[in-house]
């Protein structure tokens, strides 16, 4: 298609608007309400142009160009109209550019400059007070130009549904809920509105006065919190992060972020950051600053001594889901090739060990099978054991959007109310720990009614008869008794899910963190094989990973049983391969898991632990025991960005670099490998984790010569088949999804297409087992634990941001019925007691939050640590502890 703009001819693809063609060809047309994400609006009329043969002026953001169209963008008539629009907008509010935070980035200011408007010609309206009530966002309706971009973003992008236009004509205003203050509204402060606002009407409070846009440096990198892998831009002034925005067009988040990702960055520049190595003084028993040389030498000496006296298996290492692939690779290489043991693991043990084991056995690969952007291709999505909008907020937005647009019907199965329940066609509460019974129950109904994919099962799976015989025992009536879900609901779920052409399952810790974690995961796999939902877009078993690089840490072999790329340590060929690559003899015995390492440390069998970027004191079950075990450990080395609860009991502490201070790769939950870019320098003498590991290795006799993290990346791709074609350069801005075996391979958006990684999908009969600890007279309530939106994991990072702490403090959620019986009201102080310990916290009591008999505590808080209460009972295969069900008693204080 060829069009003429201002006398010049341009080629453009069909379907583009005049504004899009102009933008692409560098022709300036002022526009305000249009944004590539929120789409054409035609509201502000700043973008009007003349089109030959069309009557009057046309809004260029809405008119699609046609072959031969003749467009004029700069006639007197056009400019006069544009000037009037901008002049009226300037006049309608107080646009005080001198002090406005948006100065330099404001699209209204830019339009006024372009059109040569010196000052507004009209009188100002009445004064409106800015809304200062929200922790992170300030709204100033006086500067609002009513373009509607924030409303569009809030409702149709992030689907938080807080903003709308209220009133009419002159009084029209953007309102929160029923026109209440933003801080009192249902706003979750994701900041999408602030990112989309073209003027200074919605701004980030914490960035005010911290430098003008042209003074700041912008660096695109990947968020360090959950596993969604949101790309964000760090805006830095000097060596400080002063603002964060989401990267528009990024594959996993398209500009969206959550409150943590956007506003929880204070930890990077926190005064509490570790800046020098610390060594525990032998006399005073206190941690004292030391030089890098002394600290490295001491650790090398101690490790060598213990290795010599007690053997390499007396040393254990915990890698980290918060550091890069390169750093995890070098860490496990250090433990395996320099120490000489396979005792290396990381916190995936506590979140998705059961997924890795379960899915690897059933399918041949232990990762999330499908991808984020294709969520809306599912006709039905079952959300089980995942509070998606709080733990993976941006994926939550994708799911809400698919539901709102009528593309995907949701079934929510969770022991407590979650936000997605309000978007669901069917929402039920299962009894904590009854997931296998539930899944067997709906498979029973599906098989009875023929609501499953017979051809798929026949062609692509094996062992169907065994599964069929097992689930036959799970009649709806029996399952209803086991799960507390009505027969009617079970039938409805089985029918909706079984009859759907494509159906996806999303799950997270609610499935995995049980003594039956592997069983739960395999049951999900059974269901998806039965319904033929694996290996198709929009289907899949979508295990949502909880930490920024937990997928990468697993891929890099930070696990006791496998080398990088899941090659078993007890497979002689794999062993030989790595011995050759690393030039040393390697142990062929499977090493110890996190939970086992801590247990053995408590028993004195593990003498030394090297913990990189993890905080087991707060993250592991039965905290009192974990602390005791770590205190007993002869030599504890912790490498972190803060003096965490674990670091305070260490013998040596290494100060490390945060995510903002390093280059490297993170792999997100959908197997997308993305690039981290260094934005600021580390504080004091803190170093990137890979440098510390290399220094230590070399002090112990290795001769490693990695100059940059990229050198490590280049080595790891040669031994990790799934990463074979991945390089820093190829990853670019969109990332690459593994498997990507060679440099020509485009990456894999969904797994198991046409064929499972292991050949046939393996179905398995899974009998239901109860949780390890059930409520009784003494401990009558079930406790389940998890995350809240505003905090992350052990709080090491999020709790450095005051606003996040103001939004979410410690609590226990109790049902109204139980609270009434115990005489507890919302906000009361309560004591929670289990067989392992007790904590004090605040009660949250509200309508429909949680069913009778169940309670919930977020695990982020040291002052009310859920893991003092939790049961360390393990899944026999995956060794994952049962964080999701234990018995407690609650008392009013």
């Amino acid at each position: 298609m060829r069009v003429t703009i201002d006398g010049n001819q341009y080629d453009a693809p069909e379907g583009q608007t005049i504004l899009e063609i102009a933008k692409e060809n560098g022709i300036k047309i002022p526009s305000l309400c249009y944004h590539v994400k929120t789409g054409q609006a035609g509201k502000c009329r700043a973008c009007v142009v003349e089109v030959e043969g069309m009557k009057g002026l046309q809004t260029s953001c809405t008119v699609k160009a046609k072959e031969g169209m003749k467009i004029l963008t700069a006639t007197d008539k056009v400019r006069d109209a544009q000037r009037l629009v901008i002049d009226l907008l300037l006049s309608s509010g107080r646009h005080d550019c001198l002090s406005c935070e948006k100065n330099g980035e404001c699209e209204l200011q830019e339009a006024a400059y372009f059109l040569g408007i010196e000052r507004p010609s009209f009188k100002l309206g009445e004064k409106i007070q800015p809304d200062n009530s929200s922790e992170f966002i300030i709204r100033d309706n006086e500067k609002c130009i009513k373009c509607g971009r924030c409303i569009e973003g809030c409702n149709n992008t992030v689907v938080n549904e807080v903003l709308s236009f209220g009133y009419r004509s002159n009084d029209t205003a953007v309102v929160c809920d029923d026109d209440i203050l933003m801080g009192e509204s249902s706003c979750v402060q994701c900041g999408e509105c602030s990112q989309l606002c073209p003027v200074g009407a919605i701004i980030d409070r914490n960035s005010i006065g911290k430098g003008r846009p042209w003074e700041r440096k912008q660096t695109n990198t990947v968020c360090a919190y959950c596993g969604v892998g949101c790309q964000l831009t760090l805006h830095t002034s000097g060596n400080r992060v002063v603002k964060v925005t989401g990267v528009e067009g990024a594959p996993c988040n398209d500009g969206m972020l959550c409150v943590k990702g956007r506003y929880g960055y204070d930890f990077v520049n926190s005064k509490e950051r570790l800046t020098v190595p610390l060594i525990r003084d032998e006399k005073t028993k206190e941690l004292k600053p030391a030089s890098w040389e002394d600290a490295i030498e001491l650790v090398a000496k101690k490790f060598k001594k213990i290795k010599k006296e007690n053997g390499p298996d007396a040393i254990g290492g915990l890698a980290s889901a918060k550091v890069t692939n390169e750093e995890n690779y070098i860490f496990q290489k250090f433990i395996r090739s320099v120490i000489g043991t396979n005792n290396v693991d990381h916190c995936a043990r506590l979140c998705h060990a059961s997924t890795v084991v379960g899915l690897a056995s059933a399918f041949g690969s232990g990762a999330m099978t499908n991808n984020i952007a294709e969520i809306d291709k599912a006709e039905v999505a079952l959300i089980i054991g995942s509070n998606t909008t709080e733990a993976h907020p941006v994926i939550g937005s994708y799911i809400k959007r698919a539901a709102r647009q009528g593309k995907t019907k949701l079934i929510v199965v969770d022991p407590k109310w979650i936000e997605l329940a309000d978007f669901a066609e069917i929402y039920v509460n299962q009894r904590c720990g009854s997931d296998v019974a539930f899944l067997n129950g709906i498979m029973h109904i599906m098989i009875e009614n023929g609501w499953y994919d017979k051809d798929y099962v026949k062609e692509r799976c094996e062992n169907f008869d065994e599964l069929k015989t097992e689930v036959k025992k799970y009649t709806p009536e029996k399952v209803s008794k086991l799960t507390n879900i009505s027969v009617k609901d079970l039938n409805a779920i089985a029918k909706m899910f079984g009859q759907a052409k494509t159906a996806a399952v999303f799950y997270s810790m609610g499935i995995t963190q049980h003594t039956t974690g592997t069983d739960n995961v395999w049951s999900v796999a059974n269901l998806q094989m039965l319904c033929g939902n694996i290996g198709i877009p929009g289907g899949g078993v979508n295990a949502l990973r909880g930490q920024a690089n937990v997928q990468g840490a697993c891929d890099m072999g930070a696990l006791p049983n496998v080398y990088p790329g899941y090659q078993p340590v007890n497979n002689p060929q794999a062993q030989e391969k790595f011995e050759k690559a690393w030039g040393v003899k390697l142990a062929n015995k499977v090493g110890l898991t996190v939970t086992e390492q801590l247990k053995y440390a408590g028993e004195g069998k593990i003498k030394a632990l090297y913990i990189m970027g993890e905080n087991p004191v707060l993250s592991d079950p039965d905290m009192n025991h974990v602390k005791e075990a770590l205190e007993k450990t002869e030599f504890l080395v912790v490498q972190d960005i803060f003096l965490t609860e674990t670091a305070t009991i260490a013998d040596v502490v290494f100060p490390a670099a945060s995510f903002a201070e390093k280059d490297g790769l993170f792999t997100n939950t959908e197997r997308r490998v993305q690039r981290l870019n260094k934005a600021v320098a580390s504080p004091g003498e803190a170093k990137e984790d890979w440098i510390i590991v290399q220094d230590l290795a070399n002090a112990m006799g290795a001769k490693w010569k990695y100059q940059t993290a990229c050198d490590i990346q280049e080595e790891l791709v040669t031994v990790t088949p799934q990463y074979g074609g991945i390089s820093w350069k190829r990853v670019g801005t969109k990332g690459l999804q593994w498997p990507c075996p060679n440099p020509e391979h485009p990456g894999t958006s969904y797994l198991h297409k046409d064929k499972f990684a292991r050949g046939l999908g393996l179905m398995k009969a899974i009998p239901f087992k109860e949780p390890a600890e059930l409520p009784d007279d003494e401990y009558p309530l079930v406790l389940t634990t998890g995350r809240v939106l505003e905090q992350f994991h052990t709080g090491t990072m999020t709790r450095k941001t005051e606003g996040l702490n103001n939004l979410a403090g410690p609590k226990i959620t109790i049902s109204q019925e139980d609270a009434k019986k115990l005489g507890i009201k919302d906000g009361d102080r309560v004591r929670v007691i289990s067989r392992r310990g007790e904590i004090e916290t605040c009660a949250e009591v509200g309508e429909k939050l949680i069913p009778k008999g169940t309670t919930f505590i977020p695990f982020h808080y040291i002052e009310a640590a859920a893991n003092i209460l939790t049961n360390p009972a393990l899944d026999p295969v995956a060794k994952i502890p049962e964080f999701k069900a234990c018995a407690v008693r609650v008392e009013k204080i």
Partner: protein, 167 residues
């Protein structure tokens, strides 16, 4: 909050509570029906007389529409009101003809007599005062309407007499 936000809080009367309860039962029938929002708001206003804040929340939950959207629609259309309505609605025409024949004085007299402003309702919920823009009876100006009755050539001195008909 916008400058337009009504911050007055009305205690719901027992009668209103009963009406809201009845409305709740009707609301159930509209669940999941596309385009139900405006008809439901109309029904609510007809049954309860106005749209109390709690009813907007009820509708938002019941229809699974964002509260902000419900509020936006309720404040956009003049037909909807979030203030209690009196039993009788008095509308004073301020159209050109009525205005030049003294309807402004008539309006002032009603305000004084009833002790309320435009848009307000008397404490006994008997009268609500509003303004109109021409009822198409300019020959009879100034004109007012009480409910569906038209009163012509109204003078400030006549208003007590008019109100008495509705007490």
């Amino acid at each position: 909050m916008s400058n337009k936000k009504c911050v007055c809080v009305h205690e719901l009367t027992a009668d209103e509570k009963e009406k809201i309860k009845n409305f709740g039962q009707i609301l159930d029938d509209y669940k999941g029906k596309p385009g139900a929002l405006i008809p439901v708001l109309q029904i609510a206003q007809k049954m309860i007389g106005y749209l109390p804040g709690s009813v907007l929340k009820m509708i938002s939950k019941g229809l699974h529409e964002p509260l902000a959207k419900v509020y936006g629609v309720a404040t956009f259309y003049h037909f909807f009101t979030m203030m209690p309505r009196g039993k009788h609605l008095i509308r004073i025409c301020l159209g050109t003809a009525c205005y030049v024949r003294g309807s402004k004085e008539v309006l002032a007299a009603f305000k004084k007599e009833l002790g309320i402003d435009v848009g307000g309702t008397t404490a006994d919920r008997k009268f609500t005062l509003e303004i109109g823009r021409c009822f198409g009876a300019c020959g009879l100006a100034p004109v007012i309407m009480v409910n569906d009755d038209t009163h012509q050539r109204v003078k400030p001195s006549k208003i007590k007499e008019i109100l008495a008909q509705y007490k």
